[in-house]
Amino acid sequence: MENNKFLDIKGLNVSFYTQKGVVRAVRDLDLWINKGETLALVGESGCGKSVTASSIIRLIPSPPGKIESGEIFLDGQDILKLSEEEMQKIRGDKISMIFQDPMTSLNPVFKIGDQIAEIFITHYGLKKKEALERAVEMLDMVKIPSPEKRVKSYPHQLSGGMRQRVMIAMALASPHPGIMIADEPTTALDVTIQAQILDLMKELQEKIQMSLLLITHDMGVVAEMASRVAVMYAGRKVESADVYSIFEKPFHPYTVGLLNSMPSNEKYKHNARLEAIEGNVPNLLEIGDGCPFENRCKYAKDICRNKFPEIKDMGNNHHVWCHFAGELNF
């Protein structure tokens, strides 16, 4: 079991040193992904999902960001101990990343072929011409029509969906694709295109047996793609379980709130309103040692304010960080 973990994050703490104070963006995070598995990291904006993703690829803007402590094992190797040069060799090789906004994540003044070819030049040591030929193959693989023409296009000549396909092509071009981090890969796309991109990702992931860390706040995407789910709130992991378990029987009040705020056909039929989670995400500057959800949680007691709960094992690999896990009726 242990050696099956392709990515294993232990006790990760990431802070941002701003003028107003220290923002603890990620606190004591444990996270692991098996080979070929898809883990969805769920939570609302600013909960530390993207910071976690950037930490794994070690591209936290520093300063102001800093990885304070923790270990990130990638294929058995602690990447936080690597030098910048060694890390550079891993990026685009074992780890690749797809970003949220395909409109801004491709360089506007270079042809997309050149941008994909960069991977073949950097990691395979190919000459420009061969690298471009490989780029055409990659575009074909992500089902972009007439790839020979498209390699010569500039990003602004492609639609959002096509650009995201290009990003996926770049992620898959790596010599040893081990894990792909997809940071809200479909959020900026039209709904009709979202399904296409997700299907493509799933298909290719199965084909090359790659792990996928899918960062999203869309529970619909989670249900579609993931085998396991980790829920984050204000820098902390609050619940993790396999995907059926989370949808079937969530234990954390925040997870319940997230699921209730999701539109569904059931609700539509009964003309029900979507439920919002009352209140706002706490300011990470002012957050204490208690449970971060305490100020929005209708079940909160005094203990929630003062102490972050211990892990509770609900069986079946379902873990919750709530003082009253299992005692609450939603």
Binding site: I57, L59, E84, Q88, K89, I90, R91, G92, D93, S96, M97, F99, D101, T104, S105, L106, N107, P108, V109, F110, Q115, E118, I119, T122, H123, Y154, H156, Q157, M167, M170, A173, S174
Partner: protein, 338 residues
Amino acid sequence: MYKFILKRVGMLLPTLFGVITLVFFMLALSPGEPARVILGERANKEAVEKLNAELGLDKPMHVQYVIYLKKVVQLDFGRSIKTGQRVIDEIKSRFPATIELAIFSMILASVAGIFIGVISATKRYSLLDYVSMFGALFGVSMPVFWLGLVLIIIFSVNLNLLPTGGRMDIRYYFVPITNFYILDGLIHFFKSGDLGVFLSAVTHMILPAVTLGTIPLAIIARITRSSMLEVLKQDYIKTARAIGTPEHKVIFKYALRNALLPVITVIGLQFGMLLAGAILTETIFAWPGIGKWLYHAIESRDFPAIQGGIIVISTCFVLINLFVDLLYSVINPKIRTE
């Protein structure tokens, strides 16, 4: 692309026509009579009128304007009132000196300015950044004449390394072909195998080019730094890093090409300004360029010379900006395809 070029070139003509017209009326309406300047304060009325008739200045303004337009189109700016030489010949003999100086200043300013700007941006808030940006501020604020004199004192007078002025050592006799002395020096070298002319032209170029290039250098460095900082924040830079692109390539290829867009505009404008604005540098280094010549022309109300000089300089300015626009479209594919 061709459409864009055609459109941009088409816009040249009205611009130039505007310049030519403006130059005429500004001079025609400005105080000071050329005839008085030539003949002196105490010249009698008849003599002044006679000279005015000779110069064509007695005709009504619109007639003068039409005659002027016809001549300008044929590049005939008339004869200098002061020297009696054809204005176009005087410009031909002096303008290359200014262009040569401006080109070298801009090469220096662009290469060094972009490099300093990029380094400061990538090492933001480091000592290096503070030192370069303070240097840039100092460079912008420094009066050109003072800098020129200080350089002469240090490098010519004290260290005796470089000449104090002029374009060429008087020991060398050679017939200029292009009037760009460094180029002529190379031609001379290939013809005769003597490198002396070329070296002399280069050593004469160094101090004036540094003096003239300091302010543009500082401006370019600052613009490059801020543009670069903006670009480095963009997602596509993160993408480039995320695929393992070596950092030097991220900076000097993927980021710099984006960051250069505003820098190129500034380089073009600065270059245009150097053509007309080299008067101080030309004076200090006894550089026989057009700036100094134009200054004397203005001083002596030499209307044909002023007109010719301004038209030629403005035309160059407009052409440089056309070139910048075309270059811009090469770097920025969005402009090309729109």
